[in-house]
């Protein structure tokens, strides 16, 4: 009989091995699903995971897709360290894109060097405001942030739809639900010619280093970690729970807002109804897959970007539904949570005990 028993102490080894194991199990299940769909599994997996990045352009696209995921996931990793479960990166990202666009379309003829920083800042602030609403509700009324941030996601989505179909619609755009195209001064410069790799990628890497410094080296990061692991110890030591909750909400909201504005000011170049294929949600998986550590999050965001690209490739090459991307993301999270049980527990083969002799009473 296979039994699960508690380890004497959590296994450090297993906490790094678990994402790898989850990846392998996802691949195996994926292969099974492909063969059930009537595709040769190896070929389908190759189309899904290798073909999209087989050339230089593919690698460049990987960076383009990974940047917003990375930005969102870095912020979430900070929040989750403090046990603040911000599920609202998607909404904060949309608000960032919306607010940045609202500013950018006012200056479609400008060539000022200040425009781009102003647009980016506007996006960051909008993300912070959106996350700040949840922070206010949590610190004032002790509202569960998981519920409020999810609800705010839908509000943000509908606000974006309203503006892109209404006030921000390009008056010369033949009634398409799109804003005017931004001025070049409002766009993130392209880094590599003939690709879409833009400065947002560099910003994301820079933010990654900053988050590593914050969480790994600074006293503020230490306070955040203490709060997440043991809020009573944090209170005993005099770390203000309220301030820290506000701080992690503002960091994660600001970074998600930056991701959103970097999308409209980067590869898209205008406000459209769908600026994100679910980057904010994918970032939740990325944060956990990367063990809430900046380096892990970087690797996991590349993998997640690959899943987005692979899903499109499957649709183009093999005529498979795009929903496969979501399915693979879901499987990855599912297996990761299952494998994480092995950090605290271990499996052991246990021979069945003989049934105890009947109870003798006096």
């Amino acid at each position: 009989m296979l039994i699960m028993e508690r380890r004497p102490e959590p296994s450090r080894w297993m906490s790094y091995l678990s994402p790898v194991l989850a990846g392998l199990l996802t691949l195996l299940t994926g292969a099974l699903v492909f063969s059930l769909l009537g595709q040769p599994p190896l070929h389908a997996l190759k189309t899904f995971l290798i073909t999209p990045i087989a050339d230089a352009y593919g690698l460049a696209e990987l960076c383009v897709k990974a940047a917003p995921i990375l930005l969102c996931a870095l912020g979430l990793a900070v929040a989750y360290r403090a046990n603040v479960w911000n599920i609202g990166a998607e909404g904060q990202l949309l608000m960032g894109g919306l607010a940045g666009s609202a500013l950018a379309v006012q200056f479609t003829d400008s060539d000022s060097a200040w425009l781009l920083p102003a647009v980016l800042l506007c996006g960051i602030l909008a993300g912070m405001v959106w996350a700040g609403l949840a922070a206010l509700l949590k610190t004032r009324f002790n509202t569960n942030e998981i519920l409020t941030t999810i609800m705010l996601n839908y509000i943000a989505f509908n606000l974006l739809q309203y503006f892109v179909h209404g006030p921000l619609k390009d008056p010369h755009g033949y009634n398409f639900p799109e804003s005017a195209v931004f001025a070049d001064a409002a766009r993130l410069p392209i880094l590599v010619d003939a690709t879409r790799v833009h400065q947002g990628t560099v910003i994301a890497l820079f933010v990654g280093a900053a988050v590593w410094l914050l969480m790994g080296r600074s006293f503020l990061g230490f306070q955040i970690r203490v709060l997440g692991r043991d809020s009573r110890a944090a209170r005993m030591a005099g770390f203000s729970e309220k301030h820290l909750i506000w701080l992690v909400f503002l960091i994660s909201g600001g970074l998600a807002g930056l991701a959103g504005v970097a999308e409209v000011a980067g590869p898209i170049g205008q406000l459209v109804p769908n600026i994100s294929p679910g980057y904010g949600y994918a970032a939740i998986i990325v944060a956990f897959l990367g063990r809430l550590h900046p380096v892990g999050v970087l690797l996991a965001s590349l993998l997640m970007a690959l899943l987005f690209m692979g899903g499109e490739m499957l649709q183009i090459e093999l005529n498979l539904p795009l929903a496969l991307t979501g399915m693979f993301q879901g499987m990855l999270l599912f297996y990761l949570l299952a494998c994480d049980a092995l950090i605290v527990y271990r499996l052991r083969w246990h021979r069945k005990l003989p049934v105890p002799a009947t109870v003798v009473t006096s």
Binding site: R6, P8, E9, P10, R217, S218, F219, L220, F222, R225, V226, R229, D230, R232, A233, R235, M236, A237, G238, F239, S240, P356, A357, V359, V360, T361, S362
Partner: protein, 539 residues
Amino acid sequence: MSTAQYIDRHLPANGDELLQFPSRLALRGISKQYPGCLANDSIDLDIPPGEIHALLGENGAGKSTLMKVIYGLVKPDAGEIYWRGKSVRISDPSHARRLGIGMVFQHFSLFETLTVTQNIALALGTPAKEMRALGERISNVSARYGMRLNPDRLVHTLSIGERQRVEIVRCLVQDIHLLILDEPTSVLTPQEVNTLFVTLRQLATEGCSILFISHKLHEVRALCQKATVLRAGRVSGACVLGVETTSSIARMMVGDSTPISTTYTKVRAETPFLSVVGLNKATHDPFGTTLKNLAFEVRRGEILGIAGVAGNGQEELLAALSGEEPVKNGDSICLPDAAIGHLPPDARRRMGVAFVPEERLGRGAVPDMNLRENGLLTGFMQGLVRRGMVQSEKVVTFADQIITRFKVKAAGSHSEARSLSGGNLQKFIIGREVLQNPKLLITAHPTWGVDIGAAVAIHEALIGLRDQGASILVVSEDIDELFQISDRICAIFDGRMSPQKATAETTIEEVGRWMAGDFDYGEDAGSAASQVSKEIQPC
């Protein structure tokens, strides 16, 4: 199998006097292995009918595991249990109760919102129609054994001592042959302890065997005839208490290498450092205690001990003093140059106030952080942080300093806090605060649940800090400890503070009366306030 056969087969042939009588309960070779710890290692134990038998040992010696084995909560890996001469396998507590074994736990398992009768009925599985009869039986039993108890009272209105009576009566209303009591005196005032002993002696003369678990030697000597001493999971001695001296029994408990106890000189200090005047605090917890017009002071270079039975407002007082729950009226808690009652904990730390909470893992220290990080937790003002960045080398040095100076047994400063034993972690936490040279150290139950060696080390650290001129406040339920280390002593009862006296000028009996609320605090708050202000000038 007859009793005679049982003795022939299972007991060693040497002439141990216990063998002359059939034991009510006999254990042979009981062993229990937990992951990484052999809690019981082939333990033998004999309790004849009507004997009050002590099970002695330090925390972690295996007492709890052994009594859980007897009560059917834990299945032993090896060994035999004989109940009235017959081998039994006790499957669960209800089976143990059917056999006639009752147990009173250290932590009560009572529903606070139900009455005494309802609580006992729940344990017995009494049908509703027999409740009235049960209530009468409870009254009869409690009257017969001198434990006054009103069966219709709600449990949350009972004092801790009364709640313990409910637990004992719950055992007595059944047909009982062996009563196990786990550290029953730790929650009682000295007077209540004496009453309990009268009851237990009466039970024993009626033929009920009693297994009395404790680590307080003088109580055991007062009550029990024989004792079995456990150390590190093994029986380190079995003795007749009249024969052995207290120190020889203590040696059996702790082994040869550990110092047993020391006496410390008392000092007389005059200048107040912490002044608490008119401290009121309503509780939000329905079962919490409201602090009512507390007044006391801790002087420079002295240890003030606050005695009291758990749940009389200690937690609320400590939270108010540490700043975890600041009070509205900041003036009610004062240092010489500032009112601090309204300030958060970090502001108080900056003024030299250090705090050691009751819970070590999960308040005093973060369980899954290492000792370096746990040193930083409150030591961050010792130059460990520069321009917002943690100075990791200094953090390591600070942790190593604590470990060497206070002889913390750990694999190193990289060890996680949870991997340390309770005593070693407490030495680390006390050391962390002492090394910061606080002007005022507030400690809650500093040696609760630690072994004697660690307790001595902790006491020495506190005395050393006192001799450097710091003020120390110790809140403890252990009255012996308070008499040992404090220079002045008082007691808290129902959120009110007794008078304070020099320890040398009072007695355990007097403090015991204070713990039971027998002191003059004035009926209305107004007169109490005026009475207090005569003694202590508000800041």
